[in-house]
């Protein structure tokens, strides 16, 4: 039994220690409060955007007695959209399409210049998470207090803090869902009905769904929405280029980072500006480390810039260890700092003998964003905007649609004259009732009559069209064979307002006769 056993150099493919988990648990993030210029700017934006969202439906706009007086109203039942002095009918939906195109271009413009500014500053998810964090901080304290509370046993104090937070969250959520429905009906009336329980079921359902999503996304899901649910982090990669400003950790001046900078310096070791205090990680609402480089999770909210700047300030270094920078300026600065594939960053290339940053480093300012691509987007955006404004200014507030009967296309009458039928639609797109005179021109001897009537009304008649309404009438035009040139005789149906300098619309109509007419 002295046989030597062979040892095999092999390992099970699913060895327990090397297995990755199939599902990862979420790590709680407790963003710390920041003070700084970006944070202030974000508070301001938050106030403006939330103000617009909650207050807009309550703005009144007088349109006279025949139209609603709500400044912004999507009237789905009557298929009208009101926006201050603009009113849009469904067939004018191209204005909305144009606005969507403009919004798309604006998104390209913003992303290609200042990166994911939409994500970081104005996305509803970001704004409401910010708002929910304010509430959380008010009841539970800042980062450390919240971590402690998380770990604490469920006592009276924890229960009261938690329930207060959730109650306020729910109130905000219901208000958020509630504000949405006011865009679709008269706000004061709907508010009364809603409270009294008289509003439509769809109103309660909408508020319920939006309150639930607001509460879940803002209170519970937070960064998970951005990382796992939103397609935008993936799409944005296609819009950024090397000249787009993004939140960047400037490792050319930060590395090698050290918590013991003074000791290291004394020992003659190379040391960068980063004191590895992790302030940038502590404030990050996404819970990431910007020093790992640009990454999918980063919404470029710039709070790490504020955090790092205040630290740099304290230790007497220039601001901007984390800053908005472009990839090209970053690469340039890395080269200047001596970082190549062979060598590490050399601190002596970064700072001069007096400890000042060398002047050859590139800094980015707002001017960086001005490049041809920017101007093309601005040009496109303005061109579409201007075109839409011009169209809005000169558009008609009446329209006439004429449909020739197709079955039968003509009728021979007992006296051998020919009759054609037309469905005429007169659109009064103003918010006052108007009268329109309908007239046939260029068809001698022809006379009209209305469906259901047996009286001829000659060549013209007047219709009253209600405010903001469409009037559909069926007219029959009868013409003697002698006035018809051929199988197809062109004539005009004109509709004009009965007041002086009123609107007028002319339809080039066709009168169809059987074969052989006019020969």
């Amino acid at each position: 039994m002295s046989e030597k056993l062979e040892q095999f150099d092999v390992e099970a493919v699913n060895k327990r220690e090397k297995q990755q988990p199939l599902y990862s648990a979420r790590k709680r993030i407790h963003p710390k409060r920041v003070i700084g210029s970006f944070r202030s700017f974000k508070w301001l934006l938050m106030g403006i955007t939330l103000g617009i969202y909650y207050l807009t439906p309550w703005i009144r706009w007088d349109r006279g007695e025949f139209a609603p007086d709500q400044a912004v109203l999507v009237d789905l039942a009557n298929r009208r959209f009101y926006f201050f002095f603009i009113e849009i009918w469904p067939q004018e939906f191209y204005y909305v399409a144009g606005m969507l195109v403009m919004a798309g271009i604006a998104l390209f413009l913003v992303t290609s210049t200042v990166g994911r500014a939409w994500c970081g500053y104005s996305c509803p998810q970001t704004i409401w998470v910010d708002l929910f964090l304010v509430v959380e901080r008010y009841f539970e304290g800042d980062r450390n207090a919240r971590i402690k509370l998380d770990a604490a046993p469920w006592n009276l104090s924890k229960i009261s803090k938690r329930s207060a937070k959730h109650i306020v969250w729910l109130i905000i959520s219901i208000a958020t869902g509630g504000a949405w429905i006011f865009y679709f009906a008269d706000a004061p009336q709907l508010a009364r009905d809603f409270v009294m329980g008289d509003a439509a079921f769809v109103a309660y359902a909408t508020v319920g769904v939006l309150a639930a999503t607001t509460y879940t996304f803002g209170g519970w899901m937070r960064e998970q929405v951005c990382t796992y649910m939103c397609p935008w982090p993936r799409i944005q990669a296609a819009m950024l280029d090397e000249n787009s400003l993004t939140v960047t950790y400037n490792d050319w001046r930060g590395e090698p980072r050290s918590r013991h900078a003074k000791k290291m310096k004394k020992a003659g070791e190379p040391v960068g500006d980063c004191v590895d205090c992790n302030a940038c990680v502590a404030v990050c609402p996404m819970g990431i480390d910007i020093r790992d480089g640009q990454q999918l999770e980063c919404i470029t909210c710039a709070l790490c810039i504020d955090a790092c700047d205040s630290v740099m300030n304290k230790i007497g270094f220039e601001k901007g260890l984390i800053s908005y920078a472009t990839l090209s300026s970053y690469n340039q600065n890395m080269m200047l700092a001596g970082a190549t594939s062979e060598s590490e960053i050399l601190p002596e290339k970064v700072r001069d003998k007096n400890g000042k940053l060398k002047s050859y480093f590139v800094t980015n300012s707002w001017r960086t964003v001005l490049r041809p691509r920017t101007w093309i987007y601005v040009g496109l955006y303005s061109a579409i905007g201007l075109a839409m404004l011009v169209m809005l200014a000169v558009r008609d507030r009446m329209d006439v649609i004429v449909l020739h009967d197709r079955n039968p296309i003509f009728v021979v009458l007992s006296d051998n004259s020919i009759r054609n039928g037309y469905e005429v639609k007169i659109l009064n797109m103003k918010t006052v009732p108007r009268s329109f005179k309908l007239e046939i021109e260029g068809l001698e001897g022809a006379s009209m009559k209305l469906a259901g009537s047996n009286h001829s009304i000659g060549q013209s008649t007047v219709f009253d069209v209600k405010s903001n309404q469409l009037l559909a009438v069926k007219i029959y035009i009868r013409a003697p064979r002698s006035s018809l040139m051929s199988e197809n005789t062109a004539f005009k149906i004109s509709v004009s307002e009965t007041i002086e300098n009123g609107e007028r619309s002319v339809y080039n109509a066709n009168f169809v006769a059987p074969k052989g007419v006019g020969q």
């Binding site: 990862s24 796992y228 009458l413 007992s414």
Partner: protein, 289 residues
């Protein structure tokens, strides 16, 4: 199974898929995603219990709700019927003239009549009521039995020359040729008389010869001047509209062996409101008098 590959930057396993040097990381899913998945399964179980869901060989599971697509349609139809009940009752109790002069009733009747026409009448009269050989065009102003609202209403309600309704309009032109009431030459002469009355090309000599037999045989219904008589459903022979054609041979054939159109009575089948709607619709087609 392929060898596991760990991405050197992220330390995460790759999926083994590669496109132009770009490899896909196999990051673990968040666990809440898994819970969401389980939640959808639980929802599906609830759905299957509540709604009809699983197809069997001849039927499907019913579900405890009792909801079926058919029952939903029935509900919708009932809701539509209930919504229309009021206006239908008004139409039933209103006179045709009242319906025509009331904008709401008129529009409702035209829309409803149009749909009824497509289902019940278009087979013979055509989808645009333009008629067909042997079936009158309802758009023009030439009416065999009258073209005012009341006359149209009665024609629809009782029909023409049918056996089912005692009040059906009835008239019959004698078969002058087939029953040998007139000889061929006389019929030929009358044909020319009719052509002349209509202002169409005719043989003057024959036309003159036909006047006497016309007055004796035809004028009782068609009138001395050939203007017809709607009381008897006798067509006007002087206008531009010819039911069975206006050539010499077509007119000869009609005198010799006349055809007679038949229309069923609709009053019993469709009910009072529907017949009124149809009458108002047909009258609105432009030919109504």
């Amino acid at each position: 199974m392929s060898k596991k590959e760990i991405d050197e930057f992220s330390g995460v396993e790759t999926s083994g898929h590669e496109w132009d040097g770009i490899k896909e990381l196999d990051n673990p899913l968040p666990r809440w995603w898994l819970w969401t998945f389980y939640a959808t399964i639980i929802f599906a179980i609830g759905y299957v219990i509540y709604y009809p869901a699983i197809p069997l060989i001849n039927s499907a599971t019913q579900g405890i709700s009792g909801i079926t697509a058919r029952s939903l349609v029935e509900q919708d139809l009932k809701a539509a019927q209930d919504a229309k009940a009021g206006i239908l009752a008004t139409i039933e109790s209103s006179s045709l003239e009242e319906i025509r002069s009331n904008n709401e009733l008129f529009r409702f009747s035209v829309a409803g009549g149009k749909s009824l026409f497509k289902v019940n009448c278009s087979q013979c009269h055509g989808s645009g009521a333009q008629g067909a050989p042997g079936y009158p065009n309802l758009n023009d102003d030439d009416w065999l039995w009258g073209g005012d609202l009341e006359a149209i209403y009665l024609s629809i309600k009782h029909g023409i020359r049918n056996d089912e309704d005692d009040d059906a309009r009835i008239s019959e032109m004698p078969r002058y040729g087939d029953d040998e009431l007139l000889d061929t030459d006389t019929i030929r002469a009358i044909t020319n008389t009719v052509l002349e009355m209509a202002g169409l090309e005719s043989d003057a000599k024959l036309a003159k010869a036909g006047i006497e037999p016309y007055v004796e045989n035809c004028a009782a219904c068609h009138g001395d001047n050939g203007k017809g008589d709607i009381e008897l459903g006798a067509p006007n022979l002087t206008d531009a509209i010819w039911f069975y054609g206006n050539t010499n041979s077509e007119i000869f054939t009609q005198i010799s062996s006349p055809r007679h159109g038949v229309m069923p009575a609709w009053g019993e089948r469709l009910g009072e409101a529907s017949v009124k709607k149809l009458a108002v619709y047909i009258h609105s087609l432009g030919g109504g008098l």
